[in-house]
Amino acid sequence: MAEPTKNPLQAGTGEQGTSVAEKLVALGLPEWVEPEMLQEFLATQTGALEDVEREILEVEGGSEEGLAELKRRLHTMKGEAGAIGLCGLERVFHAMEDCLAAAPPDRSDRLLEAKDWLASTLASLAKLAPPESPADKVVALLTSVPPAADTAAPDPATADPATADTAAAGAATAGAAAPAPGAADLPSKGGARAHRDPETVAMLGEFIVESDEGLGSAEQLLMNVEHDGPSPESTNGLFRIVHNIKGGSGFYNVPDVTALAHRTETLLDLLRDGVMELRGAVLDLVLDAVDHLRQLLSAVRDAVDRDVEFPASPEVPQLLARLQAAIDGEPPPPAELPAFRPGTQLGEILETIAAVPPSRTAAAAVAQKVSGLRLGEELVAQGDVRPKQLVQALRAQAEANRASTARIRGTVKVDLERVDSLVEMIGELVIVQSMVVNAPEMQAITSHRTRNYLGHLTKIVRDLQGVGMHMRMVPLRAVFQKMARLVRDLSHKSGKEVQVALSGEGTEMDRSMVEQIGDPLVHMIRNAVDHGIEPAAERAAAGKPPVATVRLSAFHEGGSIAIEIGDDGGGLRRDAILAKARAQGLISGNQELSDDAVFSLIFAPGFSTAKQITELSGRGVGMDVVKRSIEAMRGRISIASAPGRGTTFKILLPLTLAIIDGMLVSCGEERYIIPTLSVVESIKPDASMLFCAANRAEVLNIRGQILTLLRLDRLFDIPGAKSDPVEALVVILESGGRRFGLLVDNVLSQQQVVIKSLDAGIQIPFVSGAAILPDGKVGMIVNVEEIGDEWWRREQLHSC
């Protein structure tokens, strides 16, 4: 008898259970591995693998952040694989780490190959089948000596443990039911089993989480300092954070962390006393130290997870030496120019503090364009201001700016699951409440008192909904900070001078959306710096300031959140986009298109991948991916661009993923919800607006704009809808820069609805989800993007 078609890992009870367990052992897993453990492992690893692929590509693109991230991720995944005794996977991860470090010329290819193997192996494991090809092949591929052996041959010291590792792991695989080959047995891990008791592990976990948070705010402080100059508060803040980490790590006996934290603290102490300034190379050094502390802590977390001794990091001594050099007063090596803000109010501050005549600041402002120095530095260079005065001015400025930065507030840490279930229950409460209040029996109640109570109930529930929504909201600050860092790195890498201007970092969004918005933003920022901003010579020729600006801002607009990514680069080149789109057959030869329509062409899939376009128009890499992720969040993206003045992308997102503003429309006996974000307006058409070609294709003339008219009843086969448009209503919708009209019977109301995804992965065409209406029935949410795309596709078919 065939296996039932359920997930083989779904904990089988009774007879099923034993057979699953046997299969697990047959796969070479230790006996104590429960199906649930493997399942959880597979779930996390599959998710992480996608990130691995992305990061490999990022690393190929030269992202150092990606490299560090990838290292960390591979390391964690290796630990997880080792923890449940999957030696083959563990070896591959290990080889990937080695390959990453050895950096052979075809590193990305090898890593991607390995990633593909991992993906297929995970898929096989999910089916309880052995891997399609043996791990050794992949390991061999990863560790083979590259053709250009002179540069990147792995040094024997690192190669040795790898082989030993391979041998040990291989032996373990051979004996199928062998006891778990704990990662601690591997010589390269440098640690024997540590045998921590659960209490210590829990306390260590807390220490790591707290330290992580601390380092997060440290990074933020440093970025603020880079932007606004140092302040006693920021140095004190840094000092406190590092001090706490030092204390904790000393207590838990993590020598590397303690040493690094201690040395950093010493440096910060000097900074605090004003012996040194937290800027330029010193700032970079502190950033490095913070970065490294993070890595060390993640290694500690890893070691705790696998219950081995804490590993020693080879990079620590070098970093310690650099810190010591700085403490000894030696100028830290290569000082790079920090980012600065031109035309800053610093001049005004200096005019007050140092009594610099306005004419001198003006002259300095001109001179700084040539020298590339900060205004203050320029003034110092010209002898108008003494350094100390500048520091005072910068501090004054920081003081002024700090009013806007958030203060650390008292918080309580709550399990995320609890928050989610609370929010979900509030969602259900809202639905039931409105069902109760709207029930005909309730409507019939005339008692003043009862009606009052009902009103009170409604208000409380509404307030509760607001509170619930906000519980999941987090500020965009962390994401923006990451982007600022990205711009900084990209700017250094590309040799273009770019500064970043952030605003509205305090704007809050649903936590899951904040996680999802990161990737599209990275794409767009990278595009802006790589392609949007012209090389220095071109900028100079156009008379623009040498330092380009990437603006990232967030704000509320209506019931949505708007995020804008703007650059002051060359702008999108309309002609080039049009030419390419014609060549690719996206539009027909003689079509006249609005700017909006032309610009949205860069979102077309395939359009972005063409190499020529990237060179011609300078835009479009991965823009279809950006558009799709924004749409997955039920958002919209639009472009504004002016030749020579730059490009601004504007993303409009709903406040949360769970609730949207909807327009409830009726059609025949049925009701549908149209997301208000997509609605431009709704109008009652009169006969003079309506035209019909060949008795089929209906169009609408609205104030001179000709729009296609689609009918909801025909789209959804709804019986009994109004057939004469004059008696009905037209809702004008916008999707991807294109507008069209949708004929419905009536607009019933505007309201917030709680989105319910459809179970079972059932997708209904042109429907993006469902919501419970106030009377308790289910209403479908119309997928405007899908309708727009479909209509656009047909349009193209007809006109070609």
Partner: protein
């Protein structure tokens, strides 16, 4: 020789039947569609509800009757009559929705199935279960019938609900309009 072979074949078939019976023995909830009685493993059944108002899902096959609101969750409802190619029946006071939970493409899925009436929950012994008969060449693909239960004169088709609505079919639901 020949008879010996036949005998051993028969023995093998019997052994298979016994094995199948042992694997399928347990509690079943039975329901009716037209004359026929079907059985669902009791562990797959979450609950039975009366017929609520169903919201139609446009541009999907007939057998997907639509979706319902079950205490704030949106659940798809399959009309098993239509799924099995039978004629549609106007709901009676016996008509109910059985909520079943099963794994689809690695995910736990709750779905409602609309049936004429629920009969009972019964215990089926291994000896009462036979393998599904071959349904004849050209007949519908009936691999969703796990076995056939025989109780007195009743014949109960034991369903593998996961196979009744396969992944392919769910995908087809999605692609129905294209």
């Amino acid at each position: 020789m020949a008879s010996e072979n036949a005998a051993s074949d028969e023995a093998k078939a019997e052994a298979r039947t016994a094995e199948l019976g042992a694997g399928l023995a347990g509690k079943y909830m039975t329901f009716k569609l037209a004359r026929e009685e079907y059985g669902l493993g009791i562990l797959k059944v979450r609950e039975i509800i009366g017929l609520p108002e169903i919201t139609r899902a446009p541009r999907t096959p007939d057998f997907l009757r639509g979706v319902i609101n079950l205490r704030g969750k949106v659940i798809a409802v399959i009309d098993l009559r239509l799924k099995f190619g039978m004629s549609k029946l106007d709901p009676t006071d016996q008509t109910v929705i059985i909520l079943v939970q099963y794994a689809l493409a690695g995910q736990d899925v709750t779905m409602g199935i609309l049936v004429d009436e629920v009969v009972e929950v019964m215990d089926l012994q291994a000896s009462q279960i036979e393998p599904p008969p071959a349904f004849g060449a050209g007949a519908i693909d009936a691999d969703f019938v796990l076995g056939v239960g025989k109780v007195d004169k009743r014949v109960i088709f034991l369903l593998d609900i996961g196979k009744v609505l396969t992944t392919d079919e769910v995908k087809k639901l999605a692609g129905a309009s294209a």
